[in-house]
């Protein structure tokens, strides 16, 4: 018998079942229900947009890695996830070249040039969105679509909502009264919570996003810290800084009518660009929430989740640096004679 060749590797010889790609694809799947809903209410073109976005992200990843002479990482799922998330933060009516350019920017500039997965310090999908928001401002602010419903559900549509205005736009520029007139009844609330309202492809349905997020929590892919503190910060600040004075603000509209759930569960929890320790995550989430409200109430845009997360991304290396794991025990003092 020939001498058997044994494989020699370092310990440990057991590995947990999760892998980078399994995590990425799990997140990907957790996002899909919302895509289905969007395709249903905004039309199947949404699927085309998502397809272009994912396809160009994969293509860009392959091409840029090839150009740099590096190994192929298309299968690890991170590029596909970036593509999907990018599509999720686009209005459903944008032209098809937007997701392409956005994905190329996200993957090439925001991620691969900085060393690829693990070294991008801004969330690539959100960076792609920020890039598109300045590069294609008109499409990014006007390409909203009124949700269309199959007959039996048409009663869920908010009655006479202004086309091409997202709920947050109404809230910011027409005021709370107008918002409540459009969405204030039970049908309006149902539309907001279930996702039958104009908005970005992936942000409309808090329920489905919460389901997906819950699944990720259950699978322990994300922890509760970031989403909880982000939602709490938004709710608290929305309540405190009300339009009518202190502690009068509308909490629910701010929670349910923007991209908060998408941001809190799927964007701000991105491993690479958020800090790792629980305490740092709490601060990070609270910061995201606070900046979101700052932009919504005082800033130039109706929605602030994207920029809030990007701005907190700047801080996550700092938070990682400041908040370190608690060591098992302090080092031994230089008095060996005494018990510490």
């Amino acid at each position: 018998m020939a001498e058997k060749l044994w494989r020699v590797t370092m310990s440990p010889h057991l590995r947990d079942g999760t892998s980078t790609s399994s995590i990425m694809w799990t997140v990907f799947c957790a996002l899909l229900p919302q895509l289905g809903l969007s395709a249903w209410v905004f039309g199947p073109r949404v699927l085309l947009l998502a397809g272009v976005s994912i396809g160009s992200a994969l293509l860009a990843e392959w091409a840029v890695r090839k150009a740099m002479g590096r190994d192929n990482t298309v299968t690890d799922g991170s590029a596909a996830l970036t593509g999907l998330l990018l599509a999720y933060v686009l209005p459903p009516g944008v032209p098809l070249d937007l997701p392409f350019w956005g994905a190329v920017f996200s993957v090439c500039i925001a991620k691969q040039l900085f060393g690829g997965l693990g070294f991008n310090f801004f969330n690539p999908a959100l960076m792609g969105r920020a890039f598109l928001a300045v590069g294609f401002p008109v499409a990014m602010t006007t390409a909203w679509i009124m949700p269309q419903f199959p007959g039996f559900l048409s009663s869920l549509a908010a009655p006479d909502a202004v086309a091409t205005a997202t709920p947050l736009y109404v809230l910011k520029h027409a005021g709370l009264a107008e918002f409540l007139r459009e969405f204030g009844n039970s049908r309006g609330w149902a539309a907001l919570i279930l996702g039958f309202r104009p908005g970005c492809i992936g942000e409309t349905s808090p329920v489905l996003l919460l389901l997906g997020g819950g699944w990720l929590l259950y699978k322990r892919i994300i922890t509760w810290h970031v989403p909880a503190s982000m939602l709490a910060a938004v709710a608290l600040l929305a309540w405190v800084f009300g339009p009518e004075g202190w502690f009068t603000g509308p909490v629910l509209p701010h929670l349910f009518s923007g991209g908060l759930f998408l941001g809190a569960f799927f964007m701000a929890t991105d491993y690479v660009t958020s800090p790792s320790r629980p305490r740092a995550k709490l601060i990070f989430g609270a910061g995201c929430g606070a900046l979101t409200m700052l932009i919504r109430l005082k800033g130039g845009y109706p929605e602030g989740v994207c920029y809030a997360i990007l701005l907190m991304n700047c801080l996550s290396p700092v938070l990682d640096d400041w908040i370190r794991p608690r060591r098992f025990a302090p080092p031994l003092q230089c008095e060996p004679g005494k018990k510490p």
Binding site: F119, G299, Y301, Y307, P317, V318
Partner: protein
């Protein structure tokens, strides 16, 4: 402990500054622009019953007392100590508005005509200058100034902190000096054309002075900050701030606020960039992008992220 108490007190003060608009001694205690079409007035007492607004309220911009704005409604709070005036023309938080109430009786005191100037409080103005200079109009990421030093001193965190600190020191002191120089010497003597020369001279002298004093008084601090002092003279921000404060005709406090805000914004930018660059050293950046090119791209991404602050107003 004391540090925590101090920062808490500071935070409380800032909140207070935000919360409290201008105060006055008359029958109207305070007023503020609530939103685009509403001005709220806080009365010193409760408004006597029977007063009705048509014909008794006028609102004008401060600059145009002769062009009345159209008041479309007045809402009186249940306890009759707050009035909300609805105005047809858009009003801005940054603007100043004259409000006149006629034939009112407030808290038992009657007045034929009660005038009040609605505008932002001093502290709120200063705070908004600081925040604007630090974040909204961040010199590095939104105005693209001070980049040489930004890229030069953001390699390590310690360097960034040292630079940020020395910069803040020089910036604040020289802004005060420049303000005085401009308002008491250059302007009265109509020597505005010597602006650049004097400003840069003041800054250079200041840096030299600080260098000399620090070297003698606190060699330790000098060892830490000395290197940066020389560099400061070639930082665009150090000259841009005086030019801006002169251009906007700021008063001393506003000038100081601008200086502090821009120094804080610069220090923040340096620090964030240093954190990122320290991490980038570990990254597998393509060969040709190592060093400055990738730092530029990173700064570009920062600039995109900082667009989130654009259009913000306090």
């Amino acid at each position: 402990m004391t540090r925590r108490a101090l920062s808490a007190a500071l935070a409380a003060l800032l909140l207070l500054a935000l919360a409290l608009p201008a105060h006055a001694a008359g029958l109207v205690r305070a007023g503020a622009v609530a939103d685009e079409h509403h001005i709220t007035l806080e009365l010193a007492g409760s408004l006597a019953a029977g007063w009705d607004w048509p014909g008794n309220v006028s609102v004008t911009e401060r600059e145009s007392p002769d062009i009345p704005l159209t008041v479309t409604g007045v809402e009186i709070s249940p306890d009759r100590t707050e009035l909300t005036l609805a105005v047809a023309e858009p009003v801005a938080e940054q603007g100043a508005y004259r409000v006149a109430l006629r034939h009112v009786e407030i808290g038992g005191v009657g007045s034929e005509i009660e005038r009040f100037l609605v505008r932002k409080g001093v502290l709120a103005t200063l705070l908004s200058i600081v925040i604007s200079a630090a974040l909204i109009q961040n010199f590095v990421f939104s105005r693209y100034l001070g980049l040489c030093i930004f890229f030069g001193a953001s390699g390590r965190k310690e360097t960034a902190v040292g630079m940020g600190f020395s910069f803040g020191l020089v910036m604040t002191l020289s802004a005060a000096f420049v303000w005085a120089m401009y308002n008491f010497v250059l302007r009265p003597l109509h020597l505005e054309f010597l602006q650049v020369l004097t400003f840069v001279g003041i800054i250079a002298i200041f840096v030299q002075l600080l260098d000399t004093v620090l070297r003698k008084v606190n060699p330790f601090l000098f060892k830490k900050l000395g290197v940066y002092l020389v560099l400061i003279t070639t930082n665009c921000i150090i000259l841009a701030v005086p030019l801006i404060l002169v251009g906007n005709a700021y008063d001393l406090w506003e000038s100081l606020a601008l200086a502090i805000g821009s120094a804080a914004g610069f220090a923040l930018a340096l620090f964030l960039m240093a954190c990122v660059r320290e991490r980038l050293e570990l990254a597998d950046v393509p060969e040709v992008f190592r060093g400055l090119p990738i730092a530029f791209l990173a700064a570009g991404l920062f600039a995109l992220a900082f667009l989130g602050f654009s259009g913000m107003s306090f």
